[in-house]
């Protein structure tokens, strides 16, 4: 990993609505680092969904527990880690086909579905007794630069 240009942690109560406050905090930080970031909306949705999963599944809806977000930005990428108080590392479940998800009595579970589609990489981990989801977004200008460098090398 490149040296981080920016790193910050925020903690919020694990209650519904906190995810929107967290979105605003992260959006404000990213807009300062990279004004006009084209993937900001995707990142905000991913943060909201991961935060909700942390409340409901990690913290088991115990609203006295906190959810922590860590944002690390370097030249190549944004890394978002969301920590909860789950006791075990989550396993990414096999995804049911869309048609099956639609037929479910209570068609929930769209959060991870959206996260997987919007982010460039999703992993889970455990650190200091907390469980986290790590979500990576490549910085598009860097991907563009890499492609240009490869093209120059080939020619």
């Amino acid at each position: 990993m490149q040296d981080a240009q920016f790193e910050k942690r925020w903690s919020m109560p694990g209650v519904y609505g906190s995810e929107r406050v967290m979105m605003q905090k992260v959006a404000s930080a990213i807009s300062r680092i990279n004004p006009g970031e084209s993937r900001l909306d995707d990142m905000m949705t991913v943060i909201a969904e991961a935060f909700l999963n942390a409340i409901e599944h990690g913290n088991q809806s115990d609203h006295s527990l906190q959810v922590t977000l860590q944002l690390i930005v370097d030249r190549e990428k944004y890394i978002i880690r969301i920590f909860d108080h789950g006791s075990r590392e989550p396993v990414i479940p096999g995804e049911a086909p869309l048609s099956m998800k639609w037929k479910a009595d209570h068609p929930r579970g769209w959060g991870l579905f959206l996260i997987n589609r919007l982010a460039d990489r999703v992993t889970f981990g455990k650190l200091d007794g907390s469980v986290y989801i790590e979500i990576l977004f490549n910085r598009l200008h860097f991907v563009g630069l890499q492609q240009l460098e490869n093209k120059t090398k080939r020619s």
């Binding site: 209570h106 068609p107 579905f113």
Partner: protein
């Protein structure tokens, strides 16, 4: 009524229209699913539902699940659902989850009403 979310109903040209306001999230779950028994179809014999999203500022997976339940229930009753005022980002999310196959998105209310008029004449 939850202060974070509001759904105001009106009827226009035979279509049931809900003007949604605020956050389409957990706060909307009880409001929208409790506002009407969607399994019965629409009231006044209407076959067309329109959601106005112009004043919805946030939608998460809980809100999307609520929409799926409503659209799915109405489909079973032969009703069609339309929507307008949705930002490009949320349109993308709706496409990802398959909502746009059953909830037609239009740029504004007038274009939906014109489409409904055409469908009635079919």
């Amino acid at each position: 009524m939850n202060s974070e979310f509001q759904a105001d109903k009106r009827v226009s040209a035979g279509a049931v229209i809900y003007d949604l306001k605020g956050y389409l999230s957990n706060s909307a779950e009880d409001s929208l699913l409790g506002i009407w028994d969607w399994e019965q179809g629409l009231d006044q014999g209407s076959r067309f539902l329109i959601f106005n999203f112009t004043q919805v500022t946030y939608i998460n997976s809980i809100g999307i699940a609520v929409l799926i339940r409503i659209v799915r229930a109405l489909l079973k009753q032969g009703c069609r659902t339309f929507a307008y005022g949705i930002t490009p980002h949320y349109q993308k999310l709706f496409r990802m989850v398959g909502l746009t196959e059953h909830m037609m998105i239009y740029p504004n209310e007038l274009s939906i009403l014109q489409r409904i008029e055409y469908l009635r004449e079919e």
